[in-house]
Amino acid sequence: MLQQGQQGTVIPYKGLSPNGDCPLLSLLSEVSMAREKRQKELTKILITGNEAIAAGALAAGCNFYAGYPITPQNELIAYMAKYMPGNGRVFIQAESELAAINMVFGASAAGARAMTSSSSPGISLKQEGISYMAGADLPAVIVNIMRGGPGLGNIAPAQSDYFQATRGGGHGDYHTIVLAPACVQEAYDLAQRSFDLADKYRIPVMILGDGILGQMMEPILISCKAPAARRQNKQKPWALSGCKGRKPNIIKSFALAEGALEQLNLKLQQKYNIIKNKETRFEGLFLDDAKIVLVAYGTMARIAKSSLTRMRLAGERIGMIRPISLWPFPKQAFCPRNKKIKYLVIEMSYGQMLEAVQLALNGRAQVEFLGRSGGGVPSEEEIINKVRKIL
């Protein structure tokens, strides 16, 4: 039986309170515990998910932002336009998503903590730049507030960019770290963590949300102190700053000589293996006695949790796994107690994370699927009906 681990929080079932509250499956445990310890330093504000990501970026010392308008992430660029200028921070409304991501490339090459944000069609355009950054070992944070596709699609929430986000997205053998917040507080927290991970591994990090998370307002606790400068000026000896007192630095992904590109790729693979071992994150709920385990991330996990609560109150043994890191995928969360345990993957897409769950279980348990997309969102009732069908 999986216990609370370094990278995952698993909450055992001890019964629900009379009003049906179950443990808040939406906060990183260590972050929320740290937050409780310093309540007095914190301020409660009401804010949208888009703005919370922007606020988290500012708190993390983000000093460069370039973006291009697209719904449903416009609150994010507006927040950055309002609060970025000054204190050595740069805000640019770019002429396109292509320009924005390449501005992020440049800012990162120059040592800045750089971020861009967009929504699905715009993220497709950014893939070229993300691939270049992966190849050049450049840290950056890219926010995708997903909407329905393919093509222009619509502006309703969706999770249909999971494959694009977790499989690299652009050309070449690469990955970005992908983090999926499920509430506005977590969006704020993960925005900060994203910058630390990006710098630690010199890798692009994607925050993957959807239109509901981006637009939804929730109260969150933020630090009332000035944005932390502590992380901002981390030494980056590889960055471009002028070659005074050292050999010239070159930022590039190009490796033309025979064997050079293979070596570059092998180095990337080494980095990815370290990240796979150290940076998976998830939450598990009531896995100790569950007969059916729901698997969902982001907004979908919120709805799945409501279904779970209702079914628990009716005496049904339901648990849940919420991956927080989508790449690397938290395979270790999937360890069924016996062969009768069934997993139900629920997505706002047509079976994308499903494949990751099937790979993680590798035939050790039955995997079922419920998904809608193109603006369709599986409801609590649909989830409950599906569970009862397979129970």
Partner: protein, 242 residues
Amino acid sequence: MERIFCRPESLYDVPTHYCPGCGHGIAHRLVAEIIDQLGIRERSIGIAPVGCAVVAYNYWKFDCSEAAHGRALAVATAIKRVRPQNIVFTYQGDGDLAAIGTNETVHAANRGENLTVIFINNAVYGMTGGQMAPTTLLGQKTSTTLDGRDRGKHGYPLKISEMLALLSGVHYIERVSLHNPQEVLKAKAAIRQAFENQINNAGFSLVEILSPCPTCWGLSPKESLDWIRDHMQKEFPLGRIK
């Protein structure tokens, strides 16, 4: 004895990969000489393009970044905004700056970014084997215009420098050539002006350099220089544009 000519400190002592008669070697050297003369090597950051000059950072001895094809001015914009104390320039070919990167070029110029642009116009895509460039002359044969560029099928040579001169954000544009030593000296003066403008925070400065590509033009190095003189500069007149 006084030494009056030597390799610029801003150039590594290595052979280049360029074809015989190519203009890139001259243009690289002019940039390096000016950076030396202005004493800015230790704070310069160059953006190499995609194209024949993709490994310019193997020749220039100062900090450099690559940029995806056409995106050099987006990359340069951010570097200069993050590090305004550094001298940031892009070095781009005609396909890079005036076809795939037109949008980034126009908007960086229109924002008046305090950058220096070295724009190599050789009227072809050199690296990929001599296809039609936006600046290919009417009638010029390339591997994608076998009967010569036809105005009805391919449009006209794009005068991006004249277009950019219309923008209020642009401070300085000059077109120069490498087809004889006198013109090379004029090119050097224009490059110096474009870097001095940035040092003086004057704004967006671009030097368009007509540069020979004997390999893709199917001419000898000498014939290539004459072709610039006799044909290319008629379509692209030399001199200060803004």
